[in-house]
Amino acid sequence: MFENFEILETINMFRNQHLDVRTITMGINLLDCAAESAETACRRIYDKITKRAEHLVDTADQISREFGVPIIHKRISVTPISLVAGASDADNYACFAKTLDKASKTIGVNFIGGFSALVQKGFTAADLKIINSIPQALAETDQVCASINLASTKSGINMDAVALMGKIIKECAELTKDTNAYGCAKLVVFANAPEDNPFMAGAFTGVGEPECAINVGVSGPGVILAALKEVPGQPLDVVAETIKRTAFKVTRVGQLVAEQAAQRLNAPFGTIDLSLAPTPVVGDSIARILEEIGVDTCGAWGTTAALAMLNDAVKKGGTMASSHVGGLSGAFIPVSEDEGMIAAVESGTLSLEKLEAMTCVCSVGIDMVAIPGDSPATTISGIIADEMAVGVFNNKTTAVRIIPVPGKVAGDKVVYGGLWGEAPIMQVNPSGSVRLIERGGRIPAPIHSMRN
């Protein structure tokens, strides 16, 4: 039995504070689709995805109606395509991306992730083929997301791959310049990429995953913000406790939805991703939470401390609410998708350097950041290398999703619309990193990776 205030609190979270389940992502293993003929492999991939995920969208919508919980995205993540396509006779893997795109549209999800390769220690022939296919694949498809894991704490950083991805990102931007380099929004590079991440653009289904699994990403920055507004001026212990309690409730929604989805879709429940994912809607911002905690504008001194506490408290509250936690699990700080972040960049308070510092204590990394189109590939690789180092040496996931927008300069703004938001073009340090990037090779794994 419930008290009225409890029922009204729950209703209010959905009604006024933008609480939602951000995504139900079905992970599907495609290893058994490999074939000597790329055409056969593509047909198997299409058939398998459209059969297994046939009811994903209907089921999610039904759950949403019954429980009154908005479920924003329904998505698919698949085995890294480099592992499936490697057996085939194709030299260009864009055909696989087109197959994924077609399958995604048939079942009615909005994104499909897994045009991916894991190259932290070196490239296979298939890895190189897929990486070189990325610009064309992303330019010629709508819903396919690509991700490349370039580094891990166990293996170190593949600097040849870091150098290559700087060029690929530039090429991707050039091929999609008519849409402000939108292709780059569907491409992410990782250190320590999780194998069960439900969020795009980095979702793929790792080889340790089952045949099929349901992974759910929760959201709820607005709920945390509303809760913190109730404790103005209180010590930070109280702030942390408030975040924990709220994160618990938010995560329980995700757990319930995930259990229901897994049962109805006859697939095992994988994990809940405890991430706080912002949207460009006012009241759904991570930056505004940090400002409520006490910095004047996101990016001011103290921002990293506030974010560290937020991220930790979300995990502590969320962990108890879920039977299995995975994915990225932490606060996201994508610039273009967060109304407060956009404002902070436009006010001159939030720089790329400060964003990098913030990524040391939260999940993901330099995310949805637009930079001038004439930024050299080696500078983009330098940004990636720094971010990979943050992840590898701190034993955490980090990522870079950066958009060098052709023809734009610092201070301009590009609009992607919807959940992608709008991105102010950020200033990039003009000093170069050419010699570092041209060295190539591998940065060895850190000493603390040897834990056996």
Binding site: M1, I7, E9, T10, Q62, R65, E66, G68
Partner: protein, 95 residues
């Protein structure tokens, strides 16, 4: 509220207070053969708030149909009417 109340869903009604809200909502529920196990209402800052614990198990209509009927009534009476499975409240408010 008694501990033995039988219900599987929660109906909430929010909106500007006016004559006939309870009559309207309970009328629709009765037509759908839904038993109301508990009902409470308050006026918060001029906002009418009604919470009903209901049992839809004996209704011959499925959840979507019930939800649709309540939504139509809400549109007609300019109210926000929701019906949600009770598990969502259990999940969020109980450990």
């Amino acid at each position: 509220m008694s501990q033995s109340v039988k219900y599987n869903a929660v109906v909430t009604v929010l909106g500007k207070d006016r004559v006939g809200i309870i009559a309207g909502v309970t009328g629709v529920l009765a037509n759908l053969n839904i038993n109301i196990s508990d009902i409470s209402q308050t006026i918060l800052k001029d906002m009418f708030t009604m919470i009903m614990l209901v049992d839809t198990m004996n209704s011959t209509y499925d959840f979507d149909k019930i939800r649709e009927e309540l939504k139509l009534l809400g549109e007609k009476m300019n109210l926000e009417i929701r019906i949600q499975h009770k598990e969502i409240f259990n999940a969020m408010q109980r450990i």
